[in-house]
């Protein structure tokens, strides 16, 4: 067999991209089909039910739960203000009345005569969805959101933290294997998507955060640096909701590893252009990888910028791949041979393998499970 299938990350100079921008619950779509939108255009909006604040009035007034409805000063559906009296006990001979005040503002939703508990529903919480990807509204999904399309350069990272952001691409390193450290971050990078080379240090990310950089993209990161930035040891790779004030995208993996040369060059060639970046990563259940989307220059289409094509997911002789496990972690090369029969590994396991012709000129044999296609 001269072919095998393996997963890979997409790094492409030009592709047609559709971004689904939908609300978590039904709401109002604010744009129309065919509209041109910018990254920060609000495309859909809704209001989520407000927070619920429970209060056990029976306990507070030392009353029977069954008596609570008649002790209430407000009815179900009434608006209440925080600290406003909402229930009052009968007292003793009309004296010594105890009062119960609203713990929050909102609407009195329920009064239970079984438990003596009431529920106050707070004001609705607005939820907005922004366009994220500048482009054209391809389709409106009624009450849900929109699909936005554009021709973009797309780079999938392997891991990221922080959510969606956008900014102008600025280079902080001049080579794909150059470490990104704090001195490379300058105040002019405020609001930018900063591109590093190899490992990015915690000091570099901290400085980037200080100067207001939107996102930092580099080849690798050390586990200890990640821990320093997050303040905890990340147990499971489900990210995107961190409130760090910066988005971080790692293109290759953990350790001192340089960004793939091709990825670096692709980003370098687009320095000064706007990019949308999302660090959200979810490796379990429906793999989600971080991404960098760079809309093509106006008038250019997916086919007009140079791109290479390889059949997606197929490993064959000459396919560019990256080794993704030690002892050759991070090395890049092409498939040199796809032996048919399984071989015994150094670990003692039997596995199907392939030979990789590395950029250095060496050839190594690795399990097929330990390579990743560099999709183009």
């Amino acid at each position: 067999m001269a072919k095998a299938y393996t997963p890979g990350l997409k790094v492409t100079a030009s592709t047609h991209h559709e971004a689904h921008r939908v609300l978590p619950i039904p709401g109002e779509v604010k744009v129309a089909e065919g509209d041109t939108v910018e990254a920060d255009t609000v495309v859909a909006e809704t209001f989520m039910d407000g927070d619920i604040t429970p209060l056990n009035v029976a306990n507070l007034l030392s009353a029977q739960p069954g008596d609570v409805p008649e002790l209430m000063l407000k009815k179900e559906g009434d608006a209440v203000e925080k600290d406003e009296p909402i229930a009052r006990s009968k007292g003793v001979f009309g004296m010594f009345k105890a009062e119960c005040r609203a713990p929050a503002s909102g609407t009195l939703e329920t009064v239970s005569s079984t438990t003596g508990q009431i529920m106050i529903r707070g004001a609705s919480i607005p939820v907005q969805v922004k366009a994220y990807l500048p482009g054209r509204v391809l389709e409106v999904l009624p009450a849900e959101g929109v699909i936005i399309e554009n021709e973009v350069a797309l780079i999938q990272g392997i891991f990221g933290i922080g959510g969606e952001t956008s900014g102008t691409i600025m280079m902080a390193c001049s080579a794909h294997d150059e470490e990104l450290d704090a001195p490379a971050i300058t105040p002019e990078m405020s609001g930018a998507v900063v591109i590093g080379g190899a490992r990015m240090t915690a000091a570099a990310i901290e400085k980037a955060r200080e100067v207001g950089v939107a996102a930092v993209v580099s080849g690798g990161i050390d586990d200890s640096d990640l821990r320093e930035i997050l303040g905890y040891d990340l147990g499971v790779a489900i990210t995107g909701t961190e409130k760090l004030g910066i988005t971080v995208v790692v293109t290759e993996g953990f350790g001192e590893i340089g960004m793939a040369k091709r990825t670096f060059e692709l980003l370098q060639a687009r320095s000064g252009r706007m990019a949308s970046v999302n660090g959200a990563t979810q490796i379990r259940a429906g793999v989600m990888r971080p991404e960098i989307l760079i809309p093509l220059e106006a008038g250019k289409t997916a086919d007009s910028e140079e791109t290479n094509h390889t059949e997606s997911g197929v490993l064959e002789l000459g396919t560019p791949i990256r080794v993704i496990r030690d002892p050759y972690f991070g090395l890049i090369g092409t498939v040199a041979a796809l032996p048919e029969s399984p071989q015994v590994l150094g670990s003692g396991s039997k596995s199907r393998v392939l030979d990789v012709a590395l950029e250095s000129g060496d050839t190594v044999t690795v399990p097929r499970a330990n390579v990743e296609l560099i999709e183009t």
Binding site: P7, I25, P26, D51, I52, T53, P54, E109, T110, S112, T114, T115, Q117, M119, R121, I158, F159, D222, D223, S224, L226, D233, L234, G235, V236, A237, G253, F254, G255, T281, I283, R284, A285, I324, R325, D326, P327, Y328, F329, L331, Q343, V344, L345, G346, S347, G348, S349, K350, S351, V353, L358, S360, D362, V364, T365, V366, P367, A369, N370, E372
Partner: protein, 618 residues
């Protein structure tokens, strides 16, 4: 509700079973050969619940087609239907299936008192094969608004509420319901899905539940109280209701499951529920205590049956790929490195762990990588077993009678019913255990993580067949038992390990097999030894423990017992229980090296092996 065929043929000869996992659908064929049921063929295909197929039956039929091709037996007709009943060269008599596709069954449970009704509800949900996302209780130390916030964040498939003994107070359980209803937990399957609420609490509170959940958006189901009195736990009806709701609601919303349900001869079961069922069937059939473990990439399931009481726990973030980083965070790297006999660079290991987390499908290429991965596995298993022991306390299982006094003691924690000395059979499944290059490694992983005491049989699930057999047991127990014994389990051997601690160099125990005819000897404390006893072989072992050591009969008392051999043999473990490795790193490395040499864990790889050690490309 059920798709069970009322007419299972009396003379069943051929059975087909599938397990639809998140990524792979595994099919097996069981045939009657020379009067006994044997697993004969297997096939697998990618699960097809996602686009572009969005129909689980496509993957099922692909897996069956593979069996059809390798076995030469025609299983599907021209319309792609399973041929039934079986003829001499075509079709099958029974087709059954389990499923964990789409993340399995995810539940939220609630009760009044965390240690009592809420704990009972959790046991019912876990026993039914669910992942319990959270347990809400009046005394869970969260304030009501925090509980509501949590409920709002979750996306359960269903909610199980218990609380109150029959005829007792209704107020507390109604309060819990009143928190859940306005929080409106959003189901995974979208806004058109009416979230099933199962109420298994105080019968007197049923009308209140109807009032609270009657306003739409919920599908309230009421079943018997799972804690009818303080002294009694009755999980059966709640578990059955969970299965029914799973079929009616959850499965019905998964793509293609309506069709799959219509072609199976027994209700589709959640995969872990089926594994639990087969373990219970076996433990009951053989009259033994058993523990099963299934370690995956994301989670580790532990099942136990002690004195007929079944328990299951899911350790949600203990696994070997997606969750490997969490294992390292929980166990700490120095603890993991106790099991590693060679020097390793800590910083590089931490980066390697994270790289495995983000690229979960990679496999160890070098021996060094394998040693480290198996060290992590020991800690993942150890932590999962610890959680299981903490959960499987007294007042577990169905219809157990207790005194009021016992109930009070439970509030302070409860005694675990998992007794390593009483354990008879330890069954391993899951990638890192099933696919270890040597069975000796699987055996030692089990011994180091579970620390069985006395005499314990070790086995592994050959091709992860337990789910299939679990559901088969519900329609044809004999077939399930026969296949389990003959084909499902690969017996690794027997572990003999006295309980107690001593000083290195002092006698721990002496032993003889078949009166010395097959060997005898004496082990010093700290020693470990492997004695050959092949698969299908048995022998009588006599163990004389030194004073201070116990192999099941009591301190220093002799034990004679027939033991079973296996692919590994008999492991005589005099390292003591609880197992304590030297604190000092070099002494610990030396101790591990001795184990590795004695058991032959990592023999020198073949000269032609690929990449023996890590290093440069030159």
């Amino acid at each position: 509700m059920s798709s069970a065929s009322p007419d299972i043929p009396a003379s069943v000869k051929v059975i087909l079973a599938t397990d639809c996992g998140s990524t792979t659908t595994k099919a097996i064929m069981i045939e009657q050969v020379d009067g006994v049921f044997r697993q004969t063929w297997r096939g697998e295909a990618p699960t097809t619940v996602e686009e572009p197929f969005a129909n689980v039956t496509v993957g099922v039929l692909n897996a069956l087609t593979e069996i059809q091709e390798v076995s030469g037996r025609r299983l599907l007709d021209d319309d792609g239907q399973i041929i039934r009943p079986a003829t001499a060269d075509a079709g099958c008599d029974i087709y059954i299936s389990t499923s964990s596709a789409g993340g399995g069954l995810q539940m939220m449970v609630a009760g009044v008192v965390r240690e009592m009704t809420a704990a009972s509800a959790k046991r019912a949900a876990l026993g039914a094969g669910a992942i319990v996302m959270d347990t809400i209780a009046s005394n869970d130390k969260r304030r009501p608004h925090e509980q509501i916030q949590r409920i709002r964040e979750l996306r359960p498939d269903m909610v199980l509420i218990s609380g109150g003994t029959d005829g007792g107070d209704t107020k507390k359980v109604t309060e819990i319901a009143e928190l859940i209803a306005p929080a409106k937990p959003r189901p995974r399957f979208g806004k058109s899905y009416e979230l099933p609420i199962i109420f298994a609490g105080n019968v007197k509170a049923q009308s209140e539940m109807k009032r609270v959940f009657g306003d739409g958006g919920f599908d309230l189901k009421i079943t018997d109280n799972l804690r009818p009195s303080l002294e009694q736990e009755n999980l059966g009806p709640a578990r059955d209701m969970i299965h029914d709701v799973f079929l009616e609601h959850v499965m019905a919303h998964a793509p293609g499951y309506d069709k799959l349900m219509s072609i199976t001869d027994a209700p589709i079961m959640p995969t872990p529920g089926a594994v639990g069922d087969i373990l219970q069937t076996i433990a009951k059939g053989r009259g033994i205590n058993a523990v099963g473990v299934d370690i995956g990439g994301a989670t580790t399931d532990v099942f136990s049956v002690f004195d007929g009481t079944f328990n299951r726990t899911v350790s949600a973030n203990l696994g070997m790929s997606y969750s490997i980083s969490n294992v390292c965070a929980e166990a700490t790297l120095p603890t993991i490195l106790r099991w590693v006999h060679i020097d390793m660079d800590e910083r590089e290991l931490r980066n390697r762990v994270k790289n495995k987390m983000i690229r979960p499908t990679t496999i160890p290429q070098t021996l060094e990588a394998l040693v480290f991965e198996q060290a992590v596995a020991r800690e993942a298993l150890r932590l999962a077993y610890k959680q299981h022991k903490e959960f499987a306390t007294t007042l577990k299982g169905v219809q157990q009678q207790r005194t009021v006094g016992d109930t009070f003691s439970q509030q302070s924690g409860g005694e675990t019913i998992v007794d390593s000395m009483k354990l008879d059979l330890l069954v391993a499944s899951g990638g890192v255990l099933s696919h270890a290059p040597r069975m000796h490694q699987t055996a030692m992983l089990l011994i180091d993580a579970f620390e069985p005491e006395g005499i314990t049989e070790l086995a592994k699930d050959s091709i992860f067949m337990m789910p299939h057999l679990g559901v088969l047991a519900s329609v044809h127990e004999t077939a399930a038992m026969e296949v389990f014994e003959r084909d499902c389990l690969v017996f690794l051997g027997t572990c003999v390990a006295p309980k107690g601690l001593g000083k290195p160099g002092k006698t721990c125990f002496s032993w003889s097999l078949d009166g010395g005819a097959r060997g005898s000897g004496e082990l010093q404390f700290g020693d470990i030894e492997l004695v050959e006893l092949g698969p299908d072989e048995t022998a009588e072992i006599e163990i004389k423990p030194a004073r201070g050591f116990d192999v099941g009969a009591g301190n220093g008392k002799v034990v004679k017992q027939t033991i079973r051999g296996g692919t590994v043999g008999v492991i005589l473990d005099a390292r003591g229980r609880a197992l304590a490795l030297p604190e000092e790193r070099s002494a610990c490395q030396a101790a591990m090296s001795r184990v590795i040499d004695q058991i032959g864990l990592y023999p020198e790889p073949a000269a032609e092996a690929v990449a023996q050690t890590s290093g440069s490309t030159r």
